[in-house]
Every structure is written in structure tokens, then in C-alpha cells.
């Protein structure tokens, strides 16, 4: 790792100031991607700004049918949260299945979605649930937030403070782990929400997480395995690597969609 300046501000204002004053700052939320990348000299920020000490950043609270999760809440905290369980147990289950215990006790929801790794779980959960991403500047709908592989709608210096999720009528998540990394090789989050059925796929798309219109239509008309069977999931736009071809990923999207629907 190159030498780097470390900041741990107690407020958003201080964080913004630290970012603004740096040559090239990176926000450190859990460090599960950033730190290994820095160790390998693949990232070389001048400063890291650790947002975990900001007041309120780890809070999880329910208001009405909506749970708001602080951006620095760890995966383990989300997995164990009765608030999250009340509103959307599928999201708690998703969090409980990320990485391994060490990752779950360091990694955070804000860090995960800001990074938008194409094989991460949370992007599927939040896109599938139609969540709202809250920053220090605005609120962004999940549909607008995830803009491509490792890219988001976040502006430079914009800090995610929380994520809000409304209670779905039903939701489920199923993932097929990459045997080596155990990231999602294909993960499918299905949800029936007030605004309709949403199906989000991670791990498979060349542009990162995406919604699948065919699966949404099928599950809207009939929430069942049989409905998924009838959907043509093509391999266009899917990743192909040493672990899985695009065809195999396309096949797994259907299998995981069925399992997610069954788990809901």
C-alpha cells in the first residue's frame, strides 16, 4: 500500500471538508474492496475518509412500512436487525449470505452499493426492492443509481448516508456463488412491491446489475416456477469468463429466479 492520509470525521460536514481538501480522496466505508485494491497498488488515493464514525451512519430505524439503514451499517448488523426483518426479511437473508463472517463484520451497505461491483449482492436487493439511496445532497431511486459496472449516479464527493426500503408484499433472493470468490456468479432478487413485480439480476450482466423485463412480466401474471420456465432468458449482454459462459449464466438466471420466487 502506498502512503495515504487517513481521516475519520465525526460529521458529514467534516467529511465533505476532508474530501474537498484532498488531492484525490476515497471514501472508506468498510474497505472490503478498497483496501485490497490499495494493497495491490491498483488504487492510490492521496487520502481516505472513513465515514464510519459519522453520527447516525450506522443507525437502522423503521418508520411506517419503511426501514432506513445507515450507510455504514455492516452486513452483519443488517442480517441481525429486527427492523430489517420486520420490513423485508429477504434483505436480511441477503446480507447474511454476503462473503464470510469477516467480510460481514467489516463491509457496509453504503460501501457495497457505492462500489457497485457487478457481482455484489446488495445492488440486486436494492434494485429489486426499488429502494431509495439517500446522500448528503439528495435522494436517488435505485433505478437511477446503478448506472453500470462499478459506476453509479454519485457525484464526486457525494456521500451516501442511508438506504430506505419500503415493505414489499413478498420478496426473495437466490444466488449461485462463484466457486472461487463466492461472490454471486448469478444472483436474482425478486419482489412484489406496490409498484409491481421487480426482478433484479447481479453477477451476470456486462453492465452490472439489471432488471429483467421478461421475468418481471412472467411473475406478474403468475408467481410460480412454471411461469419462469416459459421465459426466454438470452445470453446477450451477459458476462463470460473462466467460471461460467454467458449461456450458463443465462440458464442460472432462470434457476435462481425460480428459487428466489420459491423462497419469498
Amino acid at each position: 500500500m502506498y502512503a495515504v492520509n487517513y481521516h475519520k470525521p465525526a460529521s458529514i460536514e467534516d467529511a465533505v471538508a476532508a474530501i474537498g481538501g484532498a488531492e484525490e480522496a476515497k471514501i472508506l466505508a468498510g474497505g472490503q474492496t478498497l483496501l485490497p485494491t490499495m494493497k495491490q497498488h491498483l488504487a492510490a488515493p492521496s487520502d481516505v475518509v472513513d465515514v464510519r464514525g459519522i453520527s447516525g451512519m450506522t443507525d437502522i430505524a423503521v418508520r411506517g412500512d419503511t426501514v432506513t439503514i445507515g450507510a455504514a451499517a455492516t452486513h452483519a448488523a443488517v442480517a441481525a436487525s429486527s427492523e430489517v426483518d420486520t420490513v423485508c426479511p429477504a434483505l436480511a437473508t441477503l446480507a447474511a449470505g454476503i462473503g464470510d463472517p469477516a467480510v460481514r463484520h467489516m463491509g457496509t451497505i453504503g460501501g457495497s452499493i457505492a462500489n457497485n461491483d457487478p457481482a455484489a449482492d446488495y445492488p440486486a436487493g436494492l434494485l429489486g426492492l426499488g429502494a431509495t439511496i439517500v446522500t448528503n445532497q439528495r435522494e436517488i431511486a435505485a433505478d437511477d443509481f446503478f448506472t453500470g459496472m462499478f459506476t453509479t449516479a454519485l457525484e464526486d464527493g457525494e456521500i451516501i448516508t442511508a438506504v430506505s426500503v419500503g415493505k414489499p408484499d413478498r420478496a426473495g433472493y437466490a444466488k449461485f456463488r462463484n466457486p472461487a470468490s463466492r461472490y454471486a456468479m448469478v444472483g436474482v432478487f425478486v419482489a412484489q412491491t406496490g409498484s409491481g413485480v421487480r426482478v433484479a439480476v447481479t453477477g451476470a450482466g456486462e453492465d452490472g446489475v439489471f432488471r429483467h423485463a421478461g421475468l418481471e412480466a412472467a411473475l406478474s401474471s403468475n408467481w410460480s416456477s412454471e411461469a419462469v420456465d416459459g421465459v426466454d432468458v438470452g445470453s446477450d449482454g451477459l458476462m463470460s469468463d473462466i467460471h461460467a459462459s454467458a449461456d450458463y449464466r443465462a440458464h442460472l438466471i432462470k434457476v435462481m429466479a425460480k428459487r428466489a420466487a420459491a423462497a419469498s
Binding site: M1, Y2, A3, Q40, H41, F176, P179, A180, S181, Y183, I242, H243, A244, S245, Y248, H251, L252, V255
Partner: protein, 786 residues
Amino acid sequence: MSEGIGAAVKRKEDKRFITGRGKYTDDIRMENQAYGAFVRSPHAHAEIKGIDTSAAEAMDGVIAVLNGKQLKDDAIGDIITGWAITSKDGNPMNVGAWNPMATARVRHVGEPVVIVIAESQAQARLAAEAVEVDYEELPAVAAATRALEDGAPLLHDNVPGNLIFDWEIGDEAAADAGLAGATHVTELDIVNNRLAPNAIEPRSAIAVYNDIDDHYTLYTTSQNPHVARLVLSAFYNIAPEHKLRVIAPDVGGGFGSKIYIYPEEITCLWASMKTGRSVKWTSDRSEAFMTDAHARDHVTKARMGFDADGKIVGLKVNTVANIGAYASLFATATPTYLYGTLLSGQYNIANVYCDVKAVHTNTVPVDAYRGAGRPEATYVMERLMETAAREMGMDPAELRRRNFITEFPHQTPVIMTYDAGDFHALLEKGQAAADIAGFAARKSEAASRGKLRGIGYSCYIEACGIAPSKAVGSLGAGVGLWESAEVRVNPVGTIEILTGSHAHGQGHETTFAQVVSDRFGLPMDNITIVHGDTDKVQMGMGTYGSRSGAVGMNAIVKAMDKVEAKVKKIAAHTLEASDDDIVIEDGEVKVAGTDKKMAWHEVGLAAYTAHNLPDGMEPGLKEGAFYDPTNFTFPSGTYICEVEVDPETGVVEVVQFTAADDFGTVINPMIVEGQVHGGVTQGIGQALLENVVYDEDGQLITGSYMDYCMPRADDVPSYVLEHSTTVAPSNPLGVKGCGEAGAIGSPPAVINAITDAIGNNNLTMPATPHKVWAAIQEVGLPQAAE
């Protein structure tokens, strides 16, 4: 005796290991210690046009920036190949020269070009990034079969066609004739996938040069510190042996990868002399993937012929072995004398022929790794047997039974003389433990859950010890493969055992002490094992090839024979009896049939006070021995694997794995079980998960755990272990060795089980979900699961 041979004593060494108080090379800090960082080739194949170190030299903390030409100018030798193989046309092998740091051309990604020495590791690594190497890229080749094609990129000027040797064993005409007369011939194309060793402790070295005495000390992660000293002295010209001490402290796993004396260790020694500083280098995991010797990587065509009764009448095997960019220490022995010699398996076959072409490619050098050649041979044999049984409509166990060797000694047509074994007993034990009779019910129960259940066998035999020296010497080995030991009885009767074997996870501090405890009836706590330091231990050949038990422990036995003879003489003299009437039991030295006795420590004291020794006897009680076996040892076993396949995804779960092994005498059954657990898990890793992948240009795709898949606890079941024992006749303890068997026997059992489950034999290792799913798509779902 609760601590003697056969007792499941808990490991003495584990207290320090599991409380984090082991002392590994990287834990050691020398005064005046500096750090080395290597500049490595990013290209698979390139000419070095120039090296600009000026920016690096100007950086903070940098002490020196040194390159391969300087190293060569100081007469540091090229890295050697330790086993000379002769091609079938009588010509010696051709191997490319291997400079410790590349001087003119790089031949694999990760090859070292420059070392930077700096005050801190961070400074060394930063400066290494500032070294500018001007490369002119050359076409590269990673696959061995492609490297043999006309027009393939050539790696070394002295190796035409990239062919190191074309070796054969057995009688080709006889094998052809056997196959021509067969009523059934089974033919398979087999790939044995390339593996990366992944010891939990990465390689590390600290080189300490003392200019006052012109003396070097090397702390390093070695399985054989004496061999390291020998090679560093005799071939790399670091220093004569008396001016070079090699210490291998606690070492966290080797599996073969820490046998070899690598470029980094040589370079650190030389750099220590150049800079006058102690130089430490510790590999990170990324470096390990591109520098630790890889393993396996065979492409094989095999044909096995049978008569109408299912008797094997001929076997012909043609293998292309990928050796990598350079021929590492045992790289040439592994695909030849550790492979072709095991192609008779457990079977009575008159006609076996094997041809092996060894090939240079632009990949990390390949060398011996847990099993070394025997896993490749077993995979060929046991895939053939299972496939043949299915093709002929026979029970795979019955086909094996019909061909088992039953009389010993048995001379195979491929050099080996098997001296003991009971293959029928192993198969029966394995079948009983695996509940073969209940398989059909388990299969149909699995089908009711939508799973495809399959079963596969593997009946392996392997060869351990890699000795006698005279025999391996006649086959081209550059060293003798004996072992040495010294038994020091102190004046108070406690014992230090100095051994040339080296422990890096095996538990020698426990098992070796058990052998001594058993012999003299002393508590294990009175016995200490000393190893891993060339200044303490006289000489040794180290630990690999499951040889610490079969060779190392028997050297201790030989030294104990001498101690016992002297103890008896002293006791006979003191107790006024004949030597022949003295017995040693429970820590006492007695005159048989009387109440006359001495305590063990009284004899020790008598030896050192020397007040009353027999006339002419030297004082002291310390004896040494060198033990050179008369034969290899031959562990064998039957492994039975059951898998369940999810036909929707291709995911394979190993639901039951039964291992019935014959390791000869077992010193500590708990440690042996641990070895089988580890070995089988590595074998399941090869069968299902692990694979080194290069792209066509020689770039390493699987350079981290994001892509290289190691077995985890939840990938394997609880194993069912059985033993059936025939003692090894060639050594006094009767031990055969157990360190590698699990990794040797298990891969074919796993693949045979999967191919049984899915009804498609067209499947290569590792059987990833993707491949298994594709194999199911190829033939459609088996009837029972639809």
C-alpha cells in the same frame, strides 16, 4: 505403552501452532535487516532491451538495485535440474538455461529481473515499481501440446521444438500386440489439470552475510535445508558448505513447493553479500501464484485392452507433460520415474508401455507436488478401469478384482517390484465401510429430491521413499535419497533426536518421539526432536515423497540399534551379566529373569561419568546412522466416492467418501487420519475446484483466490476411514508412508462418481458446476431423474 507406536498421542507441536507462537521465517528479524523486492516480468515472453534503475536508486531508503547480469558476473550459477532423463533415442535431455534473475530474455509472467534492496518493505516495493525495463515482446505459448506444434514460439535456443525429452518405459511392441489381440479396448483422452500449491505460509528468506568470517546464514521456508545448502554451495557458488548455514524454522506447509531452491533465495544471499546487509524477502500471495512451482499439467491418450474375461492384456499411454519455462529440480523425474513406473496400478498386466514428451512453455515451472506423478498415473489407471467396466457392462469392483495382483513380490513391467499388499482386503474393507449394498436405495432416495447420485472407485498404489540411492542414481537422480539420524542420550537419560527429515506440518516432533519412546520405554516428554538447521543436524535429504516415516524414522531406528547395543554393554558390565541377557523395558535396563536392573538414566550417567565402563569403551552415549532403503515402499488403498449432482445447476456435492488404506505400520493413527483428511481434500480440490488457467498469450488468469478455487471445509464431507495392513518388508518399522496417498487416490474416485451420476464420461477436472451442467446438456438427463 500409551505413548508408543500405535498410540493416538496428541501433537506436541500444536500448542505453539494454535496459540500463534510458532516461529516462521518472516517472524525472524535480524539486526541491520533490509528488505528485498523483485521487479518481475509482466510478459510471458520478451527480450530485455534495457533496464533503467536510475529513478529507483534515487528513491528514499533504497540501498541497492541489482540485476541478473551483475549476478552472473559474480559467477552465481544457473538453477539446476536434479534428475537427468535420457530420451528413447538415447540422447540426453535438453533443458533451457535458468538464470536466477533473467539477463536477456524473460519466459514467464513473474520471472524476476531486478531486485531492489531498501530499508523497509514498502520502500523496496515502491522503488521496484520505478525500475523501467524495456521489453520487446515475443510470441508466447502456454499449452504444452501447442508448444510441440510446428511454428510454435521457441523458448530456448538449445531446445529444438521445445521438446526437453521424449522418454519411454515398457515394451511398445508387446503393448501393441496385447491391444491388437484384445476383445475390448477402452480409449480415453485425459487432462490432468495444472495446480498451484498454496501452502498457507508463503515462501520467505532472510540472508545474512557476515564479512568477518565470510559466512552466510539463510533462514528459509525449506522442506530440506541440507539439500538447499548442498545445491547453493555446489551449483550456485554462494559459499562452500562450511561457510553456509541453512535454517528452516517452523514451516507452514510445503506439499513439495518448498523442496526447490528458488531464484529469490539465491538472489537474497548474493544481495546480502553485495550490500553488507541482512536481506529479507517474503512472498505475497500474488507472487506465490506466479513463482511457486506449479504441478501436474499432463495431456494423455491412453488405451487399455481386455480379453473376454475382463483381464487386462495391454496398456499404452502417451503423455505430454508441461514442464514450464524452465526445468525445476525434480520436474523431469515427476512425469517419468514417478509416473510411468506406477502405470501397472494394482493390476497384473504383462504389457505396459508409456511414452512421455516433456515440453517447455511460457508458464511457471512445474515440479513435484503432493503425490508427484503418482496422482497422474492413478488418474489414468482408475479412469480407464471404471470406464472399461461400464463399457463392458461389468461391476467396476469386479473388473478390478479380476486383475488384482495377489502374489508378492511382484515385478511389474515398469521397473517397480511391489513387495507387499492385499488389494482384495482393501476393496472389501472399503466396500463394507461405504455400504455398497445400500447404494441403490440411496440413489433412489436422492432422485426423489431431484438429485443425481453416483458412485466411483479408485484403487491406487503408489511408491514412497524415493530410494534406494543406488537405484535412483542409475535412473538419473543427482543425489542419493537416504536419510540420517543421530540419537543423543544425555547424562540424565533424556534424549535428543537429530534428524535430516524436516517437519512442515507432519507432526514429526510427536511421531518420531513415539518411536523412541516405544523402543526404550521412556516418556515422550523426555525426548526432543531437532531438525531444520544445518549447524545442528549432521546431514539430511529432507521431507518429500512421503519419506519421513519410511526413510527418516528408520534412520532413527538404526541409530537406536547402536545406542541399545552400547546401553546393554554398559549395563551388562555394571550388573555383571552377559550383553545377551540384558533387556530394556519401561525405562529400565534389566537382566532378564532376575531382579537385577538399572534405571535408564543410571546407564546414561554411567556412560558420561565413565568411571566404570567396559575396557576400551569410549565414554558418552551418542550414535548416528545413515539409512538407505532397499526398496520403495508401496502404500495402497481403495477409495469410494459418492456424489450428488444438482441437474439444474451442475453443482456436485461429495456426500460420502470412504478411504481404506494400507500404510503398513502406523505410528500415530490420529496423525495418519489427519494426513488422509488433508490429502483427500487436496484431491477433491483438484477434481472439483482447482485449476491454473493461462490465456493463449501466457498471461496467468488465476492469479488470486478470486479465480483460483481452493477447497473449503464445506466442500468436503466427514470422511469414513478404514485400514487394512500389510507391513512393509523393506524397513525395520514396516511403515510405508501416508502423506500423499489421499491426494493420489481421490481424484479419479470423484470423477468416476460424477460421470456415473450424469451418465456422461466426457468430463475433465476440475468438474466445475459449469462443466458438469454442460456435460448433462450434452447427453440429456439420465432416465431416473426425469
